[in-house]
Symmetry: C2
Subunit: 180 residues, 2 copies
């Protein structure tokens, strides 16, 4: 049975080691469970607790979660809608192309943003957020089904290690969950 | 636009006042949005931050979120599946009738449990949890569509005020979201 202890990251792990533990745990969680809400809810919790087990700037993460493709949006005006997350209340919908999340969805590429104030059209859901990384979850034949979104209260909160491992996580989630 | 500031509960609110603010905010969030994942994700965040704005035992809440009816479960063996939440990783599925959550779903009644160790068949997803309140979300003609589940690390974490306001929240969510 899944247990809260799975959320414990030993305090002396390096960031790559902590991400590897997270990937192993997500793989375990998705073994017999393809429900996307269930899987993204537990993955949000693991991401949140991973960052808060690491030193700054990772420990300054103030939002970790997902937006998913909104199937009620017109095909010509696709939109993301809020999925499971940990952190403060967030924007409910985001148009493809708008802000960091919308750009990752529209371009199907990771957005690693050291200073959100300098990102054209940035959506300030929380003025405390200073840097952000957004990774698209892409399913072959369906396109972008969701995005992983992580915010940090300091500039330069994320680096190539975050990009590498969050892209691995996105690839795994794309295959291991049934998407709406 | 929805903003993270909505998550701020002034520090001197009484518990009924804080719950009333939450109900007003959830009503605002659901005004133009009936997507259940989006609404439960933001409501989990509001619940978490409400409890942590109040003195102990409310501030000892360690899990706040939802389980929903699992439509892949056989009608004769109905099951709940993990929905949006804030806190540590949680059990993925819970059979109707099992533990505090399963009992609330099967009996369609709120379970206010001062000491989970004394609850027959309690599921120890997190051994840190000592008390729990679970409120069913019931839609006319559909039955239980979800449950609200709040855990606390001390005994007697919840009282009649929690029951009263969480039941109001359940009634509102039942009507204001489109359920799977």
């Amino acid at each position: 049975m899944v247990h809260a202890d799975a959320t414990s990251f030993p305090p002396n792990l390096s960031k790559p080691q902590a991400y590897q533990q997270l990937l192993d745990q997500v793989e375990g969680l998705c073994l017999d469970q393809r429900n996307w809400v269930c899987n993204l809810s537990n993955t949000s919790s693991l991401l949140w607790h991973l960052y808060h087990s690491l030193p700054s700037p990772a420990s300054d993460v103030n939002w970790a979660g997902f937006y998913v493709y909104d199937h009620t949006s017109p095909p010509a005006k696709p939109r993301l809608i809020l999925g499971p997350f940990q952190g403060k209340v967030a924007c409910q919908t985001i148009a493809f192309g708008r802000g960091v999340c919308g750009t990752a969805a529209a371009t199907q590429t990771t957005q690693l943003v050291p200073d959100v104030e300098k990102f054209p059209g940035h959506i300030a859901c929380d003025s405390a957020s200073k840097s952000e990384i957004v990774v698209p979850i892409i399913v072959e034949g369906k396109g972008v089904v969701a995005i992983i979104d992580i915010d940090c209260t300091v500039e330069n909160g994320f680096d190539q290690v975050d990009k590498e491992y969050l892209e691995k996580l996105a690839d795994f989630l794309a295959k291991s969950s049934d998407w709406p």
